[in-house]
Subunit: 224 residues, 2 copies
């Protein structure tokens, strides 16, 4: 890490990973101080364009992923859950809610083309249940605000909800087929050679990063 | 509003506006139920591409804005503030912090090309103070997590921080030249005619929307 160039680490990740990245970067920078980190957050299809244009050193993308020539390294679960405001009548239900019933409720969904929306669409298609959408929001923050305002229930990555939010604002509902387990994968352009710092971070993500993510999600699921 | 087509409202807004939009949409949908709303969140340069491609009915963009042929309708302030974790030593300072001092601290900044970063760069250039960046994060959520982890102080839109966060997690620091007042503007493609529902929402934003935003920001600033 003596080379000045190797001190730059350019990362790009899907939106669901943006909350956990500072925790991982904090742990990494404690071991490797003086690294300059830049983190871009973008939707899956833009990450693939950036990967193609070799804009960043490493990527965290949703997995599986079609139409990509680069090898993907799946490394950790990204569970999707159904959330409601803590005072929603469904929070007290002891029997799991059927997918059919969920589809007939006021469902707030991500935009088409988001990884989360696509996973939800695949699930509903599998069970041949139509999806009705009255409110379609292109950000996890807008979705959380809308759920807090009582506009409906939503399906989000557990990684986008903090432990504090699960203790005070939201509840994870018992719904058939949920948590719906998706995965994150690491990717990089195979046509360039990774810098020493990128190789180090790649290994760090697979071991320490994975641990940070799993520990956070286990703590959240243990609330229920 | 009898026309089925006019029931669709496609909005696209800058990331700083995504938190307040559900509140405005809630108020709007109470007056006009059965409207289907879709909200896209994207960086400024992508909003201009979408505007050019006529992808959405109405846009909320940062203002002023160069290189755009469409008229902009500035409608409300978007104040930028300097935030620190509640236990940061600067929180107790009574004298305002100088810009020079801020530039020498661990400053967590947005990525280049974001409206917030550009406003910060214009300010520092005006006073000929160099900007040092160790951590550059492409999302307000990653920035808030990093500030909470004690990695540094940051400059963000007041609209991205909730009243609850200001009461429990973050403090707005007294810094020279801050709050730095930016503006939001409404835009739409002049080459298409606005639907009745879009015209109604345009007027609603300028009157009720503005009120919702101002009331929220006044409540936040009164904490200090």
């Amino acid at each position: 890490l003596k080379n000045i160039k190797s001190r730059q680490l350019k990362l790009a990740v899907v939106a669901t990973a943006k909350y956990i990245m500072p925790h991982i970067l904090q742990a990494f920078c404690q071991q490797y101080p003086k690294v300059n980190v830049s983190l871009t957050v973008a939707p899956q299809h833009q990450l693939l364009e950036r990967l193609h244009d070799k804009k960043d050193d490493l990527y965290i993308v949703g997995y599986p992923l079609e139409k990509v020539n680069t090898p993907l390294y799946p490394f950790v679960d990204n569970p999707l859950v159904v959330i409601a405001r803590f005072d929603h009548p469904w929070v007290k239900r002891t029997e799991p809610i059927a997918l059919q019933e969920l589809s007939q409720s006021s469902l707030i969904l991500h935009e088409p083309n988001s990884s989360t929306r696509e996973a939800v669409e695949r699930l509903f298609q599998k069970f041949k249940i139509p999806l009705q959408v009255q409110l379609e929001l292109g950000s996890n923050e807008a979705i959380k605000e809308a759920v807090l305002l009582g506009l409906g229930v939503s399906i989000v990555s557990l990684n986008t909800i903090s432990l504090n939010e699960l203790q005070h604002s939201f509840a994870v509902l018992k719904v058939e087929q949920f948590p719906l387990i998706q995965k994150w994968a690491i990717a990089y352009s195979e046509t360039i050679s990774l810098s020493m710092i990128s190789q180090t971070f790649f290994k760090f993500l697979q071991k320490e990063g994975k641990k940070v993510i799993q520990t956070a999600n286990q703590a959240k699921l243990s609330v229920f």
